[in-house]
């Protein structure tokens, strides 16, 4: 800590103090020193007056900061508020703090020692930056910052003299290490009768003043608490343009979790809804949302303010948020501008179309088309019964999608790092699905009939048509699940990064879309006439449709191989063979040696379960495989590590990250057709781009977190991290040209 110049007022006080000490020798000698010092100070003051108008201030240098008191005008006018600022010039790599320091730190303070009659306001804070410190986030300043303060001289101040304004400034300056630091700063200004001229610092002060948070004019703000998050809704003024990425900085600590990503969506009304995760250490009453919102492109309210002040009451209630995951350096502060802006209406429409497309997926098409064809043969059934059954089917589909969404939202709220495709990240689920598809395919191939295996089922489903229809809906979603992950992972992942209501809306739309064709067919008998007449060809079609299911089994076996190892695939295939044998034995039990065959079938099923058992304990297997995979360097691609990305970009090297998974078909297509092309690889090499692959085949919290930082929740995602700039997101369907164009921005 360094002290400022010796101050005459204190010297006078020193004199008085020591005079009161009485006539001791020590007192007298101190008195002499004090007198000498005040004489020097008087001489200095005289010199200042002699040189007249030039304001007198000295910058105080400490280890990492240079501090100075500056004013907008070169003089003080009695009774007229003067704009001053504490200017901190901070060494590169170090930072000081905003009024709310974020996860750690301490705000800068100013304590004024003013001449009598003067008053000073509090610090007017320019908007901070979110500064990542490891996995934590601080709110503060780098480089140069001006802390604005209004000082008002008394109206009866006599012009002609000088006034010295002094303050004690204290701040915490941190890099890796933190240093509490401070300085005594002072500024001497002449008192003038009229308006004073602008000072050298006037431009800088003007700029700082312009950067201050503005009132939110034209726009409307409202806030609603929703459990562990708060939705801050900003309704734009009529003429407002797209504000781009928005970040909210709360005034109070313990309200909003600093390191958790804030997500932005545009809803159907055109409002911007910013979701703020509630602090895990909720502190005090959170019933108002007060702070500063900063928009990348400004709020376009006339002055195009980049920062606006928000202070609105909050409806609803909040609960403490999930513990922040502090595993990896956060890349989340620099989510690409506007990346998350997608209107809810558009997302719902896309989901509806996506649901329709699901009917054509290889895993769903065989089952649903046969179900649709069965309607053609039911012309004589009561029309009302068919309609209700169609609705029951739709309800089954939608309810299952909603259940999946709820499960996912709950898991994520519990702090689990899961995203869409999570159902395929567990080897146990992949193996179960492979078995289910195999059995369905055998059924279509004619190896067995469900009615012969479970004689009760056929009768039950005839008696309970609606329940049967609803269960078909559930089954349809289950068999669709391996296809939603590869083809719709990214879209659903986006939905999951939104508010609960938005997530549910998207999933409901998806379900409605999927159920629509069948439900419409059951509703409009006229449409059914367009279906071909039933006949012997249906049996052949059924057998033919078994093959897409077999193909799905083959693909799931490959996914399992990528997740675990070759042994797991062998186990799965052995299980499938035994299952096929069991079904064959049971089916033939009607003829001849019935009991023996039935016993054989049951023994075979038991054997299948024994063989398959390790697959259901597959998470442990996957971890073992993950350990060996983590160190594997495949064809010049390094395993993804957020810390390494930061290190490389800091060293000036761009990094391209391929967020991928074995079960993601789009990912595989992009890899084969674009990323592995010789010319693309050459382009990467030319620009010295480090290549990293983030393999999300298995659950990986570090990858999920990095994805969330990019406002994504599924794969594929392609990102080019550029030194000193925001990361560049590439489209999900890659083309050679897009990669080349992205590299051209380096």
């Amino acid at each position: 800590m360094q002290r400022g110049a010796i101050i005459p007022v204190q010297d006078t006080m020193l004199v008085r103090t020591h005079l009161s000490m009485g006539g001791t020798a020590a007192g007298r000698s101190l008195l002499r020193i004090a007198r000498a010092r005040s004489a020097a100070a008087l001489a200095l003051a005289a010199a200042t007056i002699a040189f007249a108008a030039a304001p007198h201030a000295a910058a105080v240098r400490t280890d990492h900061v240079e501090a100075e008191l500056v004013a907008a005008k070169d003089g003080l006018t009695p009774g007229v508020p003067a704009m001053l600022a504490l200017r901190l010039k901070i060494e590169d790599g170090w930072h000081t703090y905003w009024r709310n320091p974020g996860d750690s730190g301490l705000p800068t303070t100013l304590e004024w020692k003013l001449p009598p009659g003067f008053t000073a306001g509090g610090i007017e804070w320019v908007p901070p930056k979110a500064l990542p410190v490891g996995p934590l986030v601080n709110y503060g300043y780098e480089g140069e910052v001006l802390h604005l303060v209004t000082v008002t001289p008394p109206a009866d101040l006599a012009p002609g003299a000088n006034a010295t304004l002094r303050a004690r400034a204290d701040w915490l300056v941190c890099k890796e290490t933190c240093i509490p630091d401070g300085a005594d700063v002072e500024l001497t200004l002449p008192v003038v009768a009229g308006a004073a001229a602008d000072s050298k610092a006037a431009t800088a002060l003007g700029a700082a003043r312009a950067a201050l948070p503005q009132p939110l004019t034209g726009w409307k703000a409202s806030a609603r608490g929703d459990g562990p998050r708060v939705e801050l809704t900003l309704s734009p003024a009529a003429a407002a343009s797209d504000p781009g990425a928005i970040r909210f900085f709360p005034y109070a600590e313990g309200r909003v979790e600093p390191s958790a990503p804030q997500t932005l969506v545009r809803n159907a009304h055109g409002d911007y809804v910013l979701t703020l995760p509630v602090a895990s250490q909720l502190d005090g009453t959170f019933d108002r949302v007060a702070g500063v919102a900063v928009a990348a492109n400004g709020f376009g309210n006339g002055g195009a303010a980049k920062a606006v002040e928000i202070d609105v009451p909050m409806a609803g209630t909040v609960t403490a948020g999930a513990k922040p995951k502090l595993d990896a350096p956060s890349l989340n502060t620099s989510a690409p501008a506007g990346a998350a802006t997608m209107s809810l209406a558009a997302a719902v429409l896309l989901a509806l179309v996506g649901g329709l497309v699901l009917n054509l997926m290889p895993c769903v098409l065989p089952v649903l088309s046969l179900k649709a064809l069965s309607l053609a043969g039911s012309g004589h059934t009561d029309r009302r019964v068919l309609r209700v059954a169609g609705l029951a089917f739709a309800l089954g589909v939608v309810a299952t999608f909603v259940a999946l969404a709820v499960a996912l939202v709950a898991l994520r709220a519990a702090g689990e790092q899961v995203g869409w495709g999570f159902q395929l990240q567990s080897p146990a689920v992949v193996a179960s699905l492979a078995m289910l598809f195999f059995v369905l395919a055998l059924n279509l191939s004619g190896v067995f009939e469900f009615a012969t295996i479970f004689p009760g089922v056929a009768g039950w489903s005839l008696r309970n048509r609606y329940a049967d229809a609803a269960l078909s809906g559930v089954l349809a979603v289950v068999i669709a699940s391996p296809c939603t992950a590869p083809f719709m992972g990214a879209a659903l992942g986006f939905a999951l990064s939104q508010t609960t209501a938005a997530t549910l809306a998207v999933f409901v739309a998806l379900g409605v879309g999927m159920a629509l064709p069948f439900t419409l067919l059951s509703w409009f008998p006229g449409w059914r006439r367009a279906l071909p007449r039933p006949g012997a060809w249906m049996e052949r079609l059924k057998q033919l449709l078994a093959f897409p299911l077999y193909a799905t089994v083959a693909w799931l076996a490959w996914v399992l191989g990528a997740q675990v190892d070759n042994d797991a695939v062998a186990r799965l295939l052995a299980t499938l063979v035994i299952l096929a044998f069991a079904l064959w034995a049971w089916r033939n039990a009607r003829r001849g040696a019935a009991v023996a065959l039935r016993v054989t079938a049951l023994v075979a099923v038991a054997a299948a379960l024994v063989v398959a058992w390790p697959l259901f304990r597959g998470d442990a297997m996957a971890e073992a495989a993950a350990r060996s995979a983590a160190t594997r360097d495949s064809g010049g691609w390094l395993a993804f590590a957020p810390a390494r990305v930061e290190e490389l970009t800091r060293a000036g090297r761009p990094v391209f990250v391929d967020f991928t998974a074995a079960w993601c078909v789009t990912c595989q297509v992009n890899k084969r057709l674009v990323l592995n092309r010789a010319d693309v690889r050459e382009a990467f090499a030319r620009d010295k781009v480090a290549l990293m692959r983030a393999d999300w085949t298995r659950r990986d919290p570090a990858i999920t977190r990095a994805l969330a930082g990019l406002n994504r929740n599924g794969v594929p995602v392609y990102v080019l991290y550029r030194p000193g700039r925001e990361p560049l997101l590439l489209p999900e369907v890659l083309q050679k040209q897009t990669v080349v164009d992205a590299l051209a921005t380096l």
């Binding site: 601080n138 915490l172 459990g227 895990s280 909720l282």
Partner: protein, 201 residues
Amino acid sequence: MQIRSWLRGIAMVAGFCAAAAGAQTPGQAAPDFTLTDVLGKSVRLSDFKGKFVVLEWTNPDCPFVRNHYRTGNMQGLQKSARTDDVVWLTINSTNRSNGEYKTPAMMTEWIRTQNALPRSVLIDGESAVARQYAVKTTPQMVVVEPGGKVIYAGAIDDRPSTRPDDPPAAHNYVQAALKEGKSGVAVAKASTTPYGCSLKY
């Protein structure tokens, strides 16, 4: 209409689950951990069931931590913990890869020069326990009751500063939580925003 109320029901259930899962540590079981102390002995939190336990996250390079030691404030709390049969565990979760990491020998020396009196000084070089407790700063404090539940988590006191005159004058949350916990009343301030240097993950 029915479907809408049904959906709202689901949303509420989801919200409830989320709230229950997201609720912060006070009132919840303290995550168990095993760490090695500076003398090479293994220390497990659950071994202290039946006693009050204070977890103190420290970093000798942090001026906020130093302020509580140079004023004798931390040592005072540790001393009264000792007399009251409260287990005091000082944890350094500075990551091994960070420049501020201290070896067991360095920590032993520092504790000795500070005349500190914790039950054990634990080294968490992978910052794993800090992650378990979502620790953000040093100093940061957790108080666990004899049943193993967290009754306090957050700052050491209500004066975020590095000024020596603050710790003695501050309202000490840990002291208050221990007092309330021992007399069987609910802890008035069970969760606060921790202050200090960022934990070096």
